[in-house]
Subunit: 451 residues, 2 copies
C-alpha cells in the first residue's frame, strides 16, 4: 500500500490546484454550501452549548481578531474557528456528503472565515480553499468509509481536521512538503466519538477539528514538521482508524471528480431518513384542506432504516423530536412546514400535534428506498388522501434549489440571530468570488446593535 504514496499526491494536488481548474458547477456549489453553512451558524449561535463554551473562552481567548458569527463577541482566530464550527453543526442542519455522512463545510469554512479576518483574503481564494478543504476531507473519508463511522468515529470531526488544514494550508501557500506536514499534524489531532451524540459534546469535536486543522497549517508554515506519509504509513491514519482502507479513493480522478458536486443540503432540521415523509405530509397539507381534527389516521410506508432510526412516537426533548418520524409527520400536517419552529419544546407540547402523533402508523417496506415514502391520510369523513414521494427534496436526485437554500438561510438567521441583515449577507455570499475581502461576511453576520 505504500506504493500509493497518497499523502504526497494529495498534498501536491492541494498545493498546485488553480481556481481555473475548478469547474463552474463546483464553484457554484461552493457558494451554495457557504450560504447554507452561514445560515446554520446563525441558527445555532445562541444554543446553550455555544453559550457555555463562550463563557469559558471569554476568560482565556487571545487577541479579539475574529468574530463569533451572529454574535457580538470577538475571539482569537483559533477559538473563533472552534466556536463557529460548533454553532454551525449544533442543529444537525448543515450540509452532508452522503457517501461518508461528513458534514463537510462546517470545519473547513469555520477555520477559513476566522483566518480571513486575520489575514486579508479575496473571495476567490476563500472559495478555492473551501473547495479544496472539502475535497481533502471527503476523499480521506471515502477511503475509510463505511467502516470508520460504523465503528463509532464521528467522521465530520475525524476527517474535518484534514479539511481545515488543507484549506488554510492553501491560503498560506504551503509547499507540497509543508502541506504533508500540515496533514500530518492534523492527523495526530484527529478525534471525535459517535458516543458523544446526544450531549453538548457532540459538536465540540467538530469545533476542535476546525481549530486543530487551522493550528496544523499555521504550524507547518512555521517549519513545524509532521510525519510525511501520515495517511498511508503503517502506523498512519488510515490503517489506525480505517477498517479496510481503500487508498485509491483518495487519488482516483483527483481534480476530475469533486466532492462538492455531490454535496446535499437538508431542507428540514431533523434526521435525514425522515425527510421523504415530511415532503409527503407538506404536499398533502398544501393540496388539500386538512384540519387536524378531520384526520383519523396517518399511514406511513418507509424504508426500514427510517423505522430503526426515527420511530419515536412520544418525543420529550428537542433532540428526540428531531429523530421522531411521528412528530415530523404531525407537525408537517398541522403547519404545512417542518422548520426550526416545528422542533421546539412548544411544538412538542402543542395539543394538536400531540394528538396527531398518536394517529401515525408506521410500516416498513424494504422495497421503499431511503429517499422515498408513501404517505396516506385517512380522514374522519372516509377519504384517503395519499402521495408517493420518490425522491426527497435535498436528495442528489432532487437537490434543493438556490431559492430554497436562501429561504432556509432566512429562517435560520431569523431564528438564531434576529435583527441580522439577511439580505446583505446573501448578497455578499452571492458576490463573494469577486470580493476583495472575504472577512466582510463575518462582520456582516452580527446583528445591528449587538456588536
Amino acid at each position: 500500500m505504500d506504493a500509493h504514496n497518497v499523502t504526497a499526491r494529495l498534498a501536491e494536488f492541494l498545493a498546485d490546484s488553480r481556481w481555473e481548474d475548478v469547474p463552474s458547477p463546483v464553484r457554484h456549489e461552493a457558494v451554495r454550501s457557504l450560504l447554507d453553512w452561514l445560515g446554520c451558524a446563525l441558527g445555532g449561535c445562541r444554543d446553550d452549548a455555544v453559550d457555555r463554551v463562550l463563557a469559558l473562552l471569554a476568560e482565556v481567548s487571545g487577541p479579539p481578531a475574529a468574530t463569533v458569527i451572529g454574535r457580538g463577541e470577538r475571539l482569537d482566530i483559533l477559538n473563533a474557528a472552534l466556536v463557529n464550527a460548533i454553532s454551525s453543526n449544533i442543529l444537525d442542519f448543515d450540509d452532508t456528503h452522503l457517501r461518508t455522512v461528513i458534514h463537510p463545510t462546517s470545519p473547513v469554512a469555520s477555520a477559513l472565515l476566522a483566518f480571513a479576518e486575520h489575514r486579508r483574503t479575496t473571495g476567490e481564494r476563500f472559495l478555492h480553499a473551501l473547495v479544496l478543504g472539502v475535497e481533502a476531507e471527503c476523499r480521506i473519508g471515502n477511503a475509510i468509509s463505511p467502516g470508520h463511522y460504523d465503528r463509532g468515529w464521528h467522521i465530520t470531526s475525524t476527517c474535518g481536521v484534514f479539511g481545515a488544514a488543507a484549506a488554510i494550508g492553501k491560503l498560506l501557500g504551503l509547499s507540497p512538503r509543508e502541506m504533508r506536514w500540515a496533514l500530518g499534524v492534523a492527523a495526530t489531532q484527529s478525534a471525535g466519538l459517535v458516543e458523544a451524540l446526544g450531549s453538548m459534546a457532540k459538536s465540540l469535536s467538530v469545533g476542535a477539528a476546525a481549530r486543530n486543522g487551522l493550528l496544523a497549517a499555521l504550524l507547518a508554515a512555521k517549519g513545524f514538521t509532521g510525519p510525511e506519509r501520515v495517511i498511508e504509513g503503517v502506523r498512519g491514519f488510515a490503517n489506525v482508524v480505517g477498517e479496510r482502507p481503500d487508498f485509491d479513493a483518495i487519488t482516483t480522478r483527483l481534480g476530475a471528480e469533486w466532492a462538492l458536486a455531490v454535496n446535499a443540503h437538508k431542507p428540514y432540521p431533523c434526521g435525514i431518513v425522515m425527510h421523504p415523509v415530511l415532503d409527503g405530509c407538506i404536499d398533502l397539507h398544501r393540496g388539500h384542506s386538512l384540519p387536524p381534527e378531520r384526520i383519523r389516521r396517518i399511514a406511513l410506508t418507509v424504508n426500514p432504516l427510517a423505522v430503526a432510526r426515527t420511530s419515536r412516537p412520544d418525543p420529550r426533548t428537542r433532540l428526540d423530536a428531531r429523530l421522531s418520524l411521528q412528530h415530523g409527520a404531525a407537525v408537517a400536517l398541522v403547519h404545512g412546514a417542518a422548520g426550526i419552529a416545528q422542533f421546539t419544546e412548544a411544538s412538542i407540547q402543542d395539543p394538536a400535534v400531540a394528538v396527531l402523533r398518536g394517529k401515525v402508523d408506521v410500516r416498513e417496506d424494504p422495497a421503499v428506498g431511503r429517499v422515498e415514502a408513501i404517505v396516506a391520510v385517512h380522514t374522519t369523513d372516509g377519504r384517503i388522501l395519499s402521495t408517493h414521494v420518490r425522491h426527497a427534496r435535498g436528495s442528489v436526485e432532487c437537490p434543493m434549489t438556490d431559492v430554497e437554500i436562501e429561504a432556509k438561510f432566512r429562517e435560520l438567521a431569523a431564528a438564531g440571530a434576529p435583527g441580522c441583515r439577511a439580505d446583505r449577507i446573501i448578497a455578499l455570499v452571492r458576490s463573494l468570488e469577486a470580493a476583495d475581502d472575504a472577512a466582510a461576511l463575518a462582520r456582516a453576520s452580527v446583528p445591528t446593535g449587538v456588536a
Copy 2:
C-alpha cells in the same frame, strides 16, 4: 459489558477520593515524578519544536496567566499546558508506566501547573490531583493495552487527555456526574498517532492532551454536558480504540493499587531497551582503565527486542543516536556516562566514539530479559572484561533512587535552562505537600534575568 458501569465508578472514585486515602509511598512517588517531569520540561524547553509552537502561540494566546517552564514567556492557561507538555515529552526522557508505555506525568502535571497559576492551589491538592490524574489515564490505558498502542495509537496522548481532565476536575471539585462529563468531553478529543514519531509533531499530541483535558474539565464545570458512559458505551472510547477492552482493569482494586506505585524513571535519554547495555558499559568504564584505543571489540548479548528496535550501527541524527545500541555502548565506554551530552550531533561525530561504534557486535538471545544484558569488552592486549546486568537501573526491580532522580534533574536543568535555580526548585518540589501555593514552582523554573 455495560454492566460494568466503569465510567460512573471511575468518576465517583475520582470525586470522592481524599488525600488521606493515598498511601505514603504513592505520595512520595508523586513528588519524585513531579521532579523528574519538571527536569524534562527544563531540558526540552528550548527544543526547536517548542520554539516553533511558541512563535505561533505568541500571536494568538490569551491573557498571560501561566508560565512557560524554564523560559520567560507567559501564555493563557490552555496554551501553557500545551507547551509545557511538549517541552517535557520532547526528549523522550520522561517517566514511564511500563505496562502501557504511557508517559504519565507530562499531560497531567502540565495541565495542573498551568491551572494552579490561574487558581491558587495548595501543594497537597496539587499532588492529590496528580495522583488521581495518573491513576485515571493508566487504568484506562490498561483496559486497552497492548492492542491500542500496537495498532498505532500514541497512548500517552490518547489516554493523557483523561488524566488531565480527571486531575483538573478534582481541583474544580466536580460532582461525579460532572466528572463523567469531563471524561466524556475528554474522550471525544482523544487523539495521537505513533506515525508522528520522528517528527516535531510527536509531542504535539501530548501537548494537546494536556490542553484538551484541561478544557474538558473547565467546560464540565460550566455545565457543558458530555456522554455519561463514554468509556464502556457501545460507540464509546474503549470499544472504538481498544481491540479487546478489559473493562475490569479500570475498576479492579481501585484505591488499593496505584499506578504511580509502579512508575519508572529513565536514567538515560534514549530507548529504554538500550538501558541495560549502558549500565554494563558504564560499570566497565568505572571498574577498569579502558582507553578507547585499547578496545578491540565490544560484544553485546541482549533481548531480541533491543536488536529489533535499536540496532543502528551508523546513526546520523540525534534521534537516530537515541535509538542506537552501538552509539550508546560507544559513548558509555568512552565517557563513562550516557547523558544528554552523549546524544548530541557533536558526540555522534566524535572520532573516538565513531571508531568504537564500528567495533560493536550485537547478538540477540531470547533467554536474556528485556532489562538484562551481557557486555564483554575484548582489549587489544587479549583481555576480556565482562559484566552481566540483570536488572537495568530504572527498572521496577532496580528503581532510580531519589538522589539519582535529583542528579538527572540537575543535568536536564543545566542543559535546557542554564541559570535556573535548580536547588530552589528541588527544595520547592520536596516540600510541596506543605506549600500554600503550588504555582511557585512555575515561577521558580524561569532562570534569573530571563523573565
